[in-house]
Amino acid sequence: MQTLIIIDRPPYGSWSGRESLDMAFSLAAFDQPVSLLFVGEGVLWLNKGQDATGIAQKSVERNLKAAAMFGIESLMADQSACQRFSLTGQTLIDGVETVENLRATLRRYDHVVFPG
């Protein structure tokens, strides 16, 4: 069962993206194949240099950087959304693969999960 978890809401304003990450890390902890795809405003989770101390939250940037180490197969981002938010090689956190054809990407997974 290949799982794809899609994050489409921007960071910090709600907890759904954060809780989707927990789902991904959980599957990986049980050795289940899982990838993350960031689309729309969700790509801002991948922006380098996040500092959420001012809003009394924890940045998830470190967790995302360690995704591969925790067994998450791939971190993908919608290329057109990255362009829209000026996310390039320099500003995008390392290890993210940009994808052009979302439809073809979705087709590769048996189980696709959105946050609530």
């Binding site: 799982t3 907890w15 959980s26 599957l27 609530g116």
Partner: protein, 137 residues
């Protein structure tokens, strides 16, 4: 369509009195068992954990979704599980967590229980279908 019995895991991410998720999921759940299929578990995640609150007290002419779901779960011996991380943040507490965190009360409604995301992972691994019921906002 397969004639074999299908096993479902249902995941509810929307709260009652804030989304239709628990209502749509319950209609679906009754239809699953009426069609001769089975539900392995119902997993409450994110805002969905509020469905398991024993203290929810809607006006008497509105449905109490906690009771309605509790009835279904008991009648069909289906485990209803609230994700522990979602539940603790949102103030949904069983007696064990009340004691561990020295809280003044607990409020988990029977027959719901609290457990980790591993219960959801098991659904992903073993159920023939995992169906998500999200809020609409």
């Amino acid at each position: 369509m397969s004639q074999e019995s299908c096993h479902f895991t249902l995941v509810i991410t929307g709260a009652p009195y804030s989304s239709q998720a628990p209502q749509t999921a319950l209609g679906f759940a009754w239809a699953v068992v009426a069609s001769g299929h089975a539900i392995d578990r119902v997993f409450l995640y994110g805002e969905g954990v509020h469905l398991a609150s024993a203290l929810s007290c809607p006006p008497s002419d509105e449905t109490n979704w906690t009771s309605a779901w509790g009835e279904f779960l008991e009648q069909h011996s289906v485990p209803g599980i609230a994700c522990i991380a979602s539940a603790l943040r949102r103030g949904l507490i069983d007696p064990a967590e009340q004691q561990r965190h020295e809280l003044p009360a607990s409020n988990l409604a029977a027959p719901f229980s609290i457990a980790g995301l591993g219960e959801w992972v098991e659904g992903v691994m073993q159920s023939s279908r995992v169906i998500y019921f999200h809020g609409g906002d």
